[in-house]
Symmetry: C2
Subunit: 410 residues, 2 copies
């Protein structure tokens, strides 16, 4: 049924290496925070490669940049892409692989001379990381219309610089209206940023969807007491209650199963003195599941347990919802195409759920969308030690090219 698409592995890997030089950190890793001179440098490089590949380059008013099949700008595109911005101390592939691999797939398809009914395009979205400007995935949110452009442009960074000025400062305040590129389907190739593929020794993650996320901040209040003079049974120890919540969160994940994640990584103690029973602890529960029903069940169990803990230890609890993001299911037809391409190419693979956020989950709200993962060594990402083997970078790009061909051929 499918036929495979040749890509230029050497060009792919060389470009990834060249791009990693833009914002390279002295000891390794990459720092290309959004709309900084380093980001401009990466964007400029990408723009030249788009032009080398014969693509038409367009930039919209949110700074999203597109390399499009020339002369067919008004037709629905099979679009692929990701982002070029990184966290402060990032690696060479988070985002970059989706852009450079996307271009490689599109360029190879063009060079193959195959006649594809739909035009192709590569997207570079602005501020995916959300480190300099909030929210993350800002560019794709504006592209889909989920975030108004005027609101996006007045987002401020920590120095009070609005996004609009930062765009103008690097010359990426484009003239196109965000969302101007018609999209038939969207694909994103990305590193897993988790340890599963690496641990299992597999090349391709067939991404079925993105976990829903529920963050709640709980403040547990008891009483400060002297650690020496206060009998154990006369204490209202907020840290004891918080500790029981942390232990429960782990048990909860096991009980719910089905990929449920439950993390308490933020926990602050007051007054935090060795000889004073803690009066107040603020912690944040981070619950994730691709099944929103199970996620709600986990949330309810956590709330009930914290209420029970507080009752047991004479504590008061204040809960505040911080984040609730719905799970995303990718287009089942596209998920099937990714699986099929991996199989046709003889690549080892598994279906999986994304635990991190991506531009694709925003695009999925409007367009048929899919994602392809390749392994992250030891699951490390947002870190200068981020690494993916060259073979896997190539494998993911080959799968992407095949899926794009399939989508554009229909």
């Amino acid at each position: 049924m499918s036929h495979t698409t040749q890509i230029n592995a050497k060009r792919l890997l060389e470009r990834l290496e060249t791009l990693a030089g833009r914002g390279a950190l002295p000891g390794g890793g990459v720092s290309r925070m959004t709309l900084t001179p380093e980001d401009k440098s990466g964007r400029d490089l990408m723009r030249t490669w788009f032009e080398e590949a014969g693509l038409t380059v367009q930039v919209d008013a949110a700074g999203n940049m597109f390399g499009l099949t020339p002369g067919r700008e008004s037709e629905p595109h099979v679009l692929t892409g990701s982002h070029l911005d990184t966290v402060a101390t990032g690696g060479p592939y988070d985002g970059a692989l989706g852009v450079v691999g996307g271009l490689e797939a599109v360029q190879s398809l063009r060079e193959s001379g195959r006649d594809l009914p739909s035009p192709l395009g590569v997207a570079v979205f602005t501020n995916e990381e959300g480190v300099r400007f909030f929210p993350d995935m800002l560019g794709s949110l504006v592209f889909t219309g989920d975030l108004a452009l005027d609101k996006a442009l007045i987002c401020l960074d920590a120095d009070g610089i609005p996004l609009g000025r930062a765009l103008a400062d690097i010359g990426y305040d484009g003239s196109h209206t965000p969302g101007h590129v018609p999209v038939k389907a969207f694909m994103e190739l990305h590193i897993e940023q988790g340890p599963i593929l690496d641990a299992k020794g597999l090349s391709i993650g067939v991404v079925k969807g993105v976990q829903g996320i529920h963050w709640t901040e709980y403040t547990l209040s008891g009483a400060t007491n002297h650690a020496g003079t206060t009998p154990m049974d006369m204490r209202r120890d907020a840290l004891l209650g918080a500790a029981e919540a942390v232990v429960f969160a782990r048990r909860l994940a096991g009980e719910i199963g089905n990929g449920q994640r439950a993390t308490i990584g933020s926990l602050k103690v007051a007054p935090c003195l060795s000889n004073v029973v803690a009066e107040k602890v603020t912690l944040i529960t981070d619950l994730r599941n691709a099944d929103m029903g199970l996620l709600q069940q986990a949330q309810t169990m956590m709330e009930d347990e914290i209420a029970a803990i507080c009752k047991r230890h004479g504590l008061e609890s204040l809960a505040k919802e911080l984040v609730l993001v719905d799970a995303v299911d990718f287009d089942p037809r596209i998920v099937g195409m990714v699986q099929e391409q991996a199989d046709v190419l003889g690549l080892s693979s598994m279906p999986m759920i994304s635990g991190a956020g991506h531009d694709a989950q925003i695009m999925a709200g409007k367009f048929p969308t899919g994602m392809i993962f390749v392994p992250s060594k030891d699951g490390v990402s947002h870190n200068v030690r981020e690494h993916t083997e060259p073979d896997d970078l190539v494998a993911g790009t080959r799968v992407l090219a095949g899926v794009l061909a399939g989508l554009a051929g229909q």
Copy 2:
């Protein structure tokens, strides 16, 4: 056998109120940090009361001030006292009761005309709280010779001011050699600073000793991981391990019993982000028991459990001993005299162990020593809400006067 001693309750309560005006905080409470102008003001007031009572005032080179039966300075004294310094936001009775109550007991005994074989004295020790200068109980440590005077004088406060200069600045760099007052026995009247007497509705704590203290800092190290992408069974979550240690500490106290205290009040998480599995947690265990054998048993159980937790969750642990203070047993004969006085006066009482540190525990290393506790409302101390009922202030002082008479009469 015993006869009771009348004290002047009105004078006692008025003096406590007057003294609380020295360093009074606008909204209530007292701030009389050691060797500040407020401390000088309190000391000056006390000196005038010593003189009014006909006592000879002497100050030693560590700033410890004594009011002594005149003309008998070279004989072994029955000494009582405490400290006048407070924490930054303290109450009117922590330390002050032992000094003002001590003077009231001594003055009443002198006014009673009873002929006592031993001279009496009231001590004001420097820097008991240890808030401005380290260590706490500095004055009594120098008095007993456990801390060399020259070392004490070069202790620096947070502004780099040495204790010696701070003493000179307020005119309390006395000429006497620390330890110059011969001591036959030492008694300290103090508020409990814990909730036991108040909760039980009792007036007098017959203090048998002071808990030993063992502080250990543990640093648990795992791995930072993404809360969304990292499966639960591939985590090395330092906060989960720390939480299990907190839960265990409470269980440990119950298992050891016998007044065992086990507190983790200081716990710091890194990186402390809601969507990142904690890499490192530093916590301090505060274990206390009056029985050093049980305290050692508790310490060993805690160490073993933390080792087991780390093994279970793939963590590494680094332990650092911070403090190990031996328990103190007060003189059994004096403990018996306190109990007897409470009984003779018809005051409700119970034997107890001090959970906090006091000058008396330092004095106990060299001299026959005892302590008397009176209730702290809700166990609150080191706080502007610190309160003890007038009846209890009077009751404790009456017990003290009786015990001093007994000790001086032998």
